[in-house]
């Protein structure tokens, strides 16, 4: 299955999908050293996002979150790619400085965790190929 979206930060990624319906705050919500979600009560609490194609509706919380994405990348525990319904500046800037491919305007309701996927974000198009 191929899902199209809007290209935001160019790059290619391959990995297992990790999907949540809840927004993510990278600042305070994700441990920058381990890539594990630490936000209390989040449905991904305790789960590592490193190497995954991370799918969530949109970002929330402090704008320091951009730097947390960069710290995750330097520590080798960043997501391989990010797919949003609607990306806001914290995520866009974070992905840009951390070199994480990013696309949005994707109906994430059809995506499931644990499935292998490949993501391509070019200058004018972006899509996600998901194993069915």
């Amino acid at each position: 299955m191929r899902v199209y979206g809007r290209p935001l930060v160019e790059g290619d990624a391959r990995g297992e999908l990790l999907v949540t319906r809840q927004p993510i705050s990278f600042y305070g919500g994700v441990d920058p050293d381990t890539g594990v979600v630490v936000e209390k009560g989040h449905e991904l609490e305790g789960v590592g996002i490193g190497g995954k194609i991370l799918v969530f509706p949109y970002g929330k919380g402090s704008t320091v979150g951009s730097y947390i994405l960069l710290r995750l990348a330097k520590n080798g525990v960043a997501p391989a790619g990010i797919v949003n319904e609607s990306s806001e500046p914290i995520i866009i800037i974070g992905c840009l400085i951390a070199g994480i491919p990013l696309m949005d305007r994707v109906d994430i309701g059809s995506l499931r965790s644990g499935v292998a996927a490949e993501m391509h974000v070019g200058e004018s198009n972006a899509y996600l190929d998901v194993e069915v």
Binding site: S62, S66, N75
Partner: protein, 391 residues
């Protein structure tokens, strides 16, 4: 998005790698926000510079950017750091942290950023109504839009830096007339009696109601200069909005959407916020946002009339407000003054024993989130406590 020829060349990298990266960031964010073009800015204010938050990765990123020749193209100021740049030892900051924090600021200074290290840039420069800015730091953004009539979105720290380098911001949101239309009107009249002297509580309530929506505040008596600061800082802590129309304060006539929601604030809402921040305390901290010079003088004058401080009081202000005679006066009254930082981003509250009184709902919110015991009160109550009366 429609770009000028200069912007296109910058985006292609004709003028260097650093400008290309900055322009890319601004354009990408602009596209996501639906901006049709960029708008030149006159002043950028950069936040998120505490080493505690950005870590080695952030430090290396800034040093790399400076090393690649990045330079800001407009006046650019800085939010507070994680410590007083001179008296950090007294705040409980260790040497390793101090060295890294210094490197963060040096990297930014190499790019041409002025190390003002204050969250009140609006006190130290002129801004004309209608001027376009790129400010991070929510209280400053709210002040710029709501009090100065300038136009800025609530940008994040790294975005504001990219905008400073590019000299441009996406023409979207609060930069545009449509983005400044109020979607909610908050009427404080039913709780006005209960809110006397508690603008910070009013602001906290408004932020919770407004969320990301531009708001009009009605039914509040006209606040003084420092009360406006406390009010807007509180709005920024509990809500995502960057503009509140305050009758008698905001130079712009409010534009209100036909279908704007109307919400009345009841006395119970005030009690609810007070109950959130009703912890025990044995010291007091003031200066969120940083105290102006006038506020410093007022605080010291009040304490002098009351015979000085009998309990511990720490004040935070900008280095630009520093004055030897004021410092000595504070010292004689038993009051400490720090610069460049505040109670939220430095380790001072832990140093004070972890239980403090504040007059800022923003400080209360962020200190409570760090696990400290916080009591929110009016400035008068707080000073009476420090002077040893009341309480």
């Amino acid at each position: 998005m429609e770009l000028t020829r200069w912007e296109e060349r910058a985006l292609r990298g004709d003028m260097g790698e650093a400008l290309r990266l900055a322009m890319r960031a601004v354009v990408k964010v602009g596209e996501a926000l639906g901006a049709e073009r960029l708008v030149p800015i006159t002043w950028a204010h950069v936040s998120g510079i505490s080493y505690k938050n950005i870590g080695d990765a952030g430090l290396e990123f800034l040093e790399e950017l400076a090393g690649r020749g990045a330079r800001v193209s407009v006046k650019t100021t800085l939010n507070p750091a994680g410590m007083d740049m001179e008296r950090w030892r007294e705040m409980g900051v260790d040497e390793g942290f101090a060295e890294k924090q210094l490197r963060v600021i040096r990297a930014l200074a190499r790019m041409g950023v002025q190390a003002t290290l204050t969250c009140t840039p609006y006190l130290y420069g002129r801004v004309e109504p209608g001027e376009h800015l790129a400010w991070a730091e929510s209280n400053a953004v709210l002040y710029a839009n709501s009090v100065l009539g300038a136009r800025t979105n609530r940008d994040g720290g790294p975005l504001a830096l990219f905008e400073a380098i590019a000299g441009r911001a996406p023409y979207a949101g609060l930069h545009t007339d449509e983005g400044r239309v109020a979607r909610v009107v908050v009427d404080f009249a039913p709780a006005a009696e209960r809110l006397r002297g508690l603008y910070q509580v009013a602001g906290y309530i408004l932020g919770r109601i407004a969320g990301p929506r531009v708001a009009v505040a009605e039914g509040l008596p006209r606040p003084s200069a420092w009360e406006v600061k406390l009010f807007l800082a509180a709005v920024g802590a509990s809500g995502g909005t960057g503009l509140v129309y305050l009758p008698g304060v905001t130079p712009e006539e409010p534009r209100v959407a036909g279908d704007a929601e109307r919400v009345s604030v009841e006395p119970g809402d005030v009690e609810e916020v007070e109950a959130m921040f009703s912890g025990e305390f044995d010291a007091a901290v003031l200066g969120c946002p940083h105290l102006s010079r006038e506020e410093l003088v007022e605080v010291l004058r009040y304490l002098e009339r009351r015979g000085g401080a009998r309990r511990r009081l720490v004040l935070f202000t900008a280095r630009a407000a520093r004055d030897r005679s004021l410092e000595e006066w504070a010292g004689r009254l038993g009051v400490e003054v720090f610069y460049d930082t505040c109670m939220v981003v430095s380790p001072i509250v832990g140093r004070l024993g972890g239980r403090v009184a504040v007059d800022s709902a923003k400080a209360a919110y962020y200190l409570a989130a760090q696990g400290y015991s916080v009591r929110l009160m009016s400035r008068r109550q707080l000073l009476d406590y420090v002077a040893g009366g009341g309480d």
